[in-house]
């Protein structure tokens, strides 16, 4: 214990401490197994414990009131609650402690429900003994707690939106509408993104370009939105409220490529997707001009010269088309080879099925003489109004075939037959019979792959999922946040989405960003690393372990008149992972709230000999 910092040495003197221990029965959930009264009795013997009480529902108002009242009445300076999981009620009791005018970080939570009564319900004695040991450890830990304060940093109330597609424009417009100044960045020379490559949108048949214009006019007309075209982020660092960004682009009166630096409080990643590009020769792609992707085909359908009554391509009438689903999607290890990005695309992109049906239906309606074959693994028209495309396509005479992923269709040339391409498929709707069809065109339904965002991802260490898309913290509870605080996800940078979902996600990101920028200062949990300046010998071992750029740096400073090298923590960037703590040879670096001496005390507490063998 000689390594514990001096400033807490007073409070760690258990003789002067007054710890309140509160044990919850949880309405029987705990007390049916754990002998809570006995636990409370034993806990009174732990040195420093001034109050030890049992309550049926501590989380109830009277239960919380007991704690707040006791802090004043009994002059408590530490509180331990033994109840359910801290995920459920740690914050509840922190609040109760604060209402008793005590620092909320002088509180410890012990889980004796999930970890004792529920886990060991057939062993009440064992569960009771375990509860005592856990509480004893918590008393040990809390005895060495020090009052902490949330880290408060200046908050730059300005947002950077990366990407001027539908998601970026929507997020920018929504943020500006809340009064937040926005910097909207787009690498191409116009806003709109992939909307310019789409034609009519399902399921509403809106013109994509019109949607792009509507969104663009919203951001362009808003005085709070600054739009930078032909520009991109070249350098980024910092943390929530304080991101330093270097942007390179053609701006200013000179029109030359220049770099500008700026500071923003939050960043919205609206970097979008790239369509999968089939490999050379994949289904004869790039080997035959009439093998195209759904992206190319969409382009063809928008062209004026694609024919009236008869679909024309390359000067030839197209009388039959085979659509092949899942090209570069739902790939199986051992069947498919990884693409140029080294990835196997095991996921499906959700929108491609409806895209195919949408295109197939357009063909059948505009060019009734063109026969359409649809080769799929499954039809996944999951969205509202999407299934109608399947029904309509079936009604319109599209013929469906089903293949297994291990036996994809084969495309070959016919060498001068009437139609240039032959597609063979083992059709599982026909009991696995091999079907051959000669067609004038093959359309490959390609999915989405992650959009360009490498610079930011690498510099801010944004996590990607197995599929390469940016990964949210929790798919349900925190769907638009990423583990780097202050960075938000909007649209297909995160996962394949349709436009409805993209705009919904962008709206959510905007709201979340707005909330993050609502305060003058950024408040962060105090659980970050702190260097004991008396002990640090500047070995740099911690720096080597740190995964978070800028969270740890080495500085030259003076100690006792000598120049020394020392580690310095940037609390805005430190996530409190503790990797540095584990490697420090002198125990000079510690996590606030989880210091090594607190662990020592916990271990002492666990083995404390307080529980007599007679547990009734």
């Amino acid at each position: 214990m000689d390594t514990s910092p001096e400033k807490i040495s007073d409070s760690s003197d258990s003789g002067k401490l007054r710890v309140g221990v509160y044990i919850c029965r949880c309405g029987g959930n705990i007390s049916d197994v754990v002998n809570t009264e006995h636990v409370a009795g034993i806990c009174r013997r732990i040195p420093g414990v001034a109050v030890s009480k049992v309550h049926t529902f501590l989380c109830s108002d009277p239960g919380q009131q007991t704690i707040s009242d006791d802090i004043r009445r009994e002059n408590l300076d530490r509180v331990v609650v033994a109840s359910c999981s801290p995920f459920l009620h740690e914050l509840t009791f922190r609040g109760a402690v604060q209402r008793g005018k005590m620092n909320q970080y002088l509180y410890e939570h012990v889980n004796i429900r999930e970890q004792c009564s529920w886990a060991h319900k057939h062993d009440p004695h064992g569960a009771t003994a375990k509860a005592i040991a856990l509480i004893s450890a918590a008393v040990g830990k809390v005895s060495r707690s020090v009052p902490l304060e949330k880290i408060r940093l200046p908050n730059h109330r300005r947002a950077l939106v990366v990407g001027g597609g539908p998601a970026g424009m929507k997020a920018a417009a929504d943020l500006a509408a809340c009064g937040i100044p926005v910097l909207l960045l787009e690498r191409s020379d116009r806003l709109g993104g992939k909307l310019h490559t789409l034609n009519r949108l399902f399921p509403t048949a809106d013109a994509a370009v019109e949607l792009a214009h509507k969104l663009a006019s919203q951001v362009m007309s808003h005085p709070l939105v600054e739009i930078l075209l032909k520009s991109q982020v070249v350098k980024v660092s910092g943390f929530i409220g304080n991101f330093e960004v270097a942007i390179r682009g053609d701006f200013g009166p000179s029109g030359r490529t220049t770099d500008v630096r700026t500071t923003v409080g939050v960043m919205v990643m609206a970097t979008g997707y790239r369509p999968y590009v089939p490999a050379d020769g994949e289904f004869m792609y790039r080997r035959h001009p009439a093998v195209v992707t759904t992206v190319d085909f969409n382009d063809l359908l928008t062209r004026r010269d694609c024919g009236e009554g008869t679909l024309m391509f390359d000067g030839r009438p197209i009388r039959s088309i085979a659509f092949i689903h899942c090209v570069g999607s739902r790939q199986v290890d051992g069947v498919h080879t990884p693409g140029p990005d080294g990835r196997l695309h095991a996921y499906g992109s959700r929108v491609c099925c409806t895209t195919v049906l949408h295109q197939a239906l357009q063909v059948r309606r505009r060019f009734p003489g063109t026969r359409v074959y649809d080769l799929h693994q499954d039809i996944r028209t999951y969205g509202r109004g999407h299934e109608e495309y399947y029904t309509d396509a079936a009604r319109a005479g599209v013929v469906f075939f089903r293949y297994h992923s291990a036996e994809p269709p084969r495309v070959t040339g016919t060498n001068g037959a009437k139609s240039p391409l032959r597609v063979s498929v083992k059709d599982y709707l026909s009991w696995g019979e091999e079907m051959n069809m000669e067609v004038d065109m093959v359309v490959l339904a390609v999915g989405m792959t992650p959009g360009p965002c490498e610079t930011i991802v690498e510099q801010l260490k944004l996590p990607r999922g197995e599929d390469g898309f940016l990964q949210e913290i929790h798919p349900k509870l925190r769907p638009v946040e990423i583990s780097v605080n202050g960075v938000l996800l909007a649209g297909t940078a995160q996962a394949p989405m349709n436009i409805q979902e993209t705009l919904a996600a962008a709206g959510a990101a905007a709201v979340k960003a707005r909330a993050m920028l609502s305060k003058e200062q950024v408040e962060l949990n105090p659980y970050v690393a702190e260097v004991d300046t008396r002990l640090c010998e500047g070995s740099g071992a911690c720096l080597a372990q740190c995964d978070y750029a800028g969270a740890l740096t080495m500085t030259q400073t003076r100690r006792d008149g000598h120049a020394v090298r020392m580690a310095l923590v940037n609390p805005g960037l430190c996530v409190g992972c503790g990797a540095c703590v584990a490697v420090c040879p002198t125990r000079a670096i510690n996590l606030n709230g989880w210091r090594l001496d607190q662990y020592d005390a916990m271990v002492d507490g666990l083995v404390r000999d307080i529980a007599p063998s007679a547990v009734n």
Partner: protein
């Protein structure tokens, strides 16, 4: 197993009533639900639907599946896509009937109710005119039907008609066998095999026993009604074709005399089921009665009217009303003859031939190729077993 997907043709099944084939997503609910599917080699009835969807006409021509379905309608009731598989099977039967028929008349009648009605009216008019111009002396004192229409002349006409109709029906049946047994391959099958299966044909012709397994209706009531109808029909055919000299007499026998009893039985056995079927088709309660093509109605109405006028001849004759007897006799034949001429080889009636023949051919096919491929071979094996 490689099958060329016939990309150039979609089977024109819609003209025969199969309007919802495209809606089928091949989920296989119909196959799971069908009580006959398992002993039909699996894939039934979806296989027929799939063949239609992929335009594989030769496979469909080869298939016996449509004839193995008795239309309980369970598949249609349970189809999640409302693709109406039962009616598709019905349409497939119509389609096949049209394809078996080399004259093209069956197809014409199925596609155009007008053509069918015109044909019936024409033949009916021809019969009427025949009687108007060639009838014998009209005796008004008492009923002398055999003077008005001498039985040997009528019998002669019967046999001519029977010969002509049999010719059409048998040639069509031969075409069916040709496709089902794989064209020239049928010539290589030993005649013994063909002979050995003959009892199967008659067994199913007279009993339709497979039908009893069909559908969830308790006790096979529909099967019983249909069996009654067949017995009445075959009775009438026997009385008219073989026993006409005994059946058409001017002498009035006592009520219990077999000539009269058998006639009354046949009449009732036709009148009751046809009336019942017409009422059901009108009510549209059960799946089988939801979709009635013109051909279904014409068949039932003609059959009902034939039996009705037939029994009226008897009533007038027994009650000694000469003119009424002669007139209704002419009307009776003007209905019965066109019904037979149009329906037997070219219309719905032909199923009395094709259904047992399908089971017969399945048996032949199984016997000829014990280790044949999965689809039809297995179906054949299962059906004939």
């Amino acid at each position: 197993m490689a099958g060329k997907f016939n990309s150039n043709r979609r089977l024109a099944i819609a003209e025969f009533g199969g309007k919802d084939v495209d809606l089928c997503m091949n989920c296989g609910t119909c196959t799971t639900i069908c009580p006959l599917s398992e002993d039909s080699g699996g894939g039934f009835p979806r296989r027929v639907i799939r063949l239609i969807q992929t335009g594989r006409e030769s496979k469909l021509m080869e298939s016996l599946d449509p004839w193995l379905c008795y239309y309980c309608g369970d598949c249609t009731t349970n189809c999640p896509r409302r693709a109406n598989p039962a009616e598709t099977m019905m349409a497939a039967r119509r389609y096949l009937t049209a394809r078996y028929d080399w004259t093209g008349l069956a197809g014409l009648f199925y596609k155009s109710a007008l053509a069918e009605i015109v044909a019936i009216l024409a033949v009916g008019l021809f019969v009427t005119l025949l009687f108007v111009s060639l009838h014998g002396p009209v005796v008004l004192q008492r009923v002398e039907l055999n003077t008005f229409a001498p039985v040997h002349w009528v019998e002669f006409g019967d046999w001519i008609m029977a010969a002509v109709l049999s010719f059409f029906l048998l040639t069509n049946a031969l075409r069916m066998a040709w496709w089902v047994l794989g064209g020239k391959k049928m010539l290589r099958i030993s005649p013994l095999l063909y002979l050995r299966q003959v009892p199967v044909f008659f067994e199913h012709l007279f009993t339709q026993k497979r039908w009893r397994k069909c559908g969830s209706e308790p006790g096979g009531v529909r099967w019983l009604k249909h069996l009654l109808l067949v017995s009445g029909y075959l009775s009438m055919l026997t009385l008219v074709l073989i026993l006409l000299r005994w059946f058409q007499t001017d002498k009035i026998y006592p009520f219990y005399y077999p000539q009269r009893l058998w006639g009354y039985y046949a009449t009732l056995a036709i009148l009751y089921p046809t009336a019942d079927f017409m009422i059901s088709r009108g009510r549209k309660k059960e799946p089988i009665h939801l979709f009635s093509a013109a051909s279904d109605w014409i068949f039932l109405v003609m059959l009902f009217l034939t039996a009705l006028t037939g029994i009226m001849v008897n009533i007038f004759r027994v009650n000694g009303l000469p003119v009424a007897t002669y007139v209704i006799y002419v009307i009776h034949l003007s209905i019965a003859v066109p019904m037979l001429v149009v329906e037997v080889p070219f219309g719905k009636w032909s199923h009395i031939m094709y259904r047992p023949l399908a089971i017969y051919l399945a048996g032949v096919k199984r016997a000829a190729a014990p280790a044949a491929g999965k689809s039809t071979g297995q179906a054949a094996a299962a059906v004939a077993a």
